[in-house]
Symmetry: C2
Subunit: 140 residues, 2 copies
Amino acid sequence: MPPKRSITLTEAELRLMKLLWLRGESAVADLVQALADATPLAYTSVLTTVRILEKKGYVTHRQEGRAFLYSPCVAEHEASRSEVRHVLQRFFGNSRERLLISLLGDDEITPEELERLRQAIAAAPGDEDPAQGNPTAEDA
Amino acid sequence: MPPKRSITLTEAELRLMKLLWLRGESAVADLVQALADATPLAYTSVLTTVRILEKKGYVTHRQEGRAFLYSPCVAEHEASRSEVRHVLQRFFGNSRERLLISLLGDDEITPEELERLRQAIAAAPGDEDPAQGNPTAEDA
DNA sequence: TCTTGCTAACTAATTCTTTCGTTGCTGGTC
DNA sequence: GACCAGCAACGAAAGAATTAGTTAGCAAGA
């Protein structure tokens, strides 16, 4: 049996999604232009990838004159979270705790970063009222 | 240009690595046997994947009689960490903090889990003495 | 010795991924 | 009305990933 299509974003797909998240609605030509420096790609290459992204449900398009304008219909944090869930499932038995421990155990972590992590966790919702009006509810 | 070979573990590869981490040094036939319930695979399929894993540097083999015995030469936590670093780089600009925030922002997180995460971060090294004899130094 | 059974190596088939050339349509320009 | 530029659609080419069949060697038992 051959491999099944990946649910998550492949490298070429992610490269495009990052651009779309940054720029918002864009024509293919604009994406090609924006990629020109780092990754010169033919127009058709970008188009193909964008169409795959649309089939996967990551982008939509609308017609503007003769050109298609593509825009992301999955937010960056949604895609990231999806990716993290995937890693969580594949490597950590769906235990966020185990992932966190792995994160903390990385050799190159600095005390400053650790402090930021601690602050992040302190500011998390779901605990008894942290009493610091932090909405954070911009999600579906 | 075709896609380059992935550095990280693919699904079939991870499936085998998990077995090898669990069982330690194993012959191909034993791996096939162990997989039989969840994923019946032909001997040759498993052999092919193991050989790819060896080429990638995840396993080594030694000869025992006529059979090869394969054993992992990358620890599970190393592979996990590698995978996390990959996600970190691809989605979070190498910011562990941003990953943590994404983790905490997941809808389905329970207060209990949050508490465990907080404890995990409290027990992390690098901070001023947490004063609760927790070794945790079982890593390379 | 000859056969049987297991093993590794090679190869194949299928789908995915990435890149890109070609084709055909459409809208504007001369 | 004919020509040119730009754009989407189709499909191809090449390597990766997954599964598996075939082949050949080798050791143990009949």
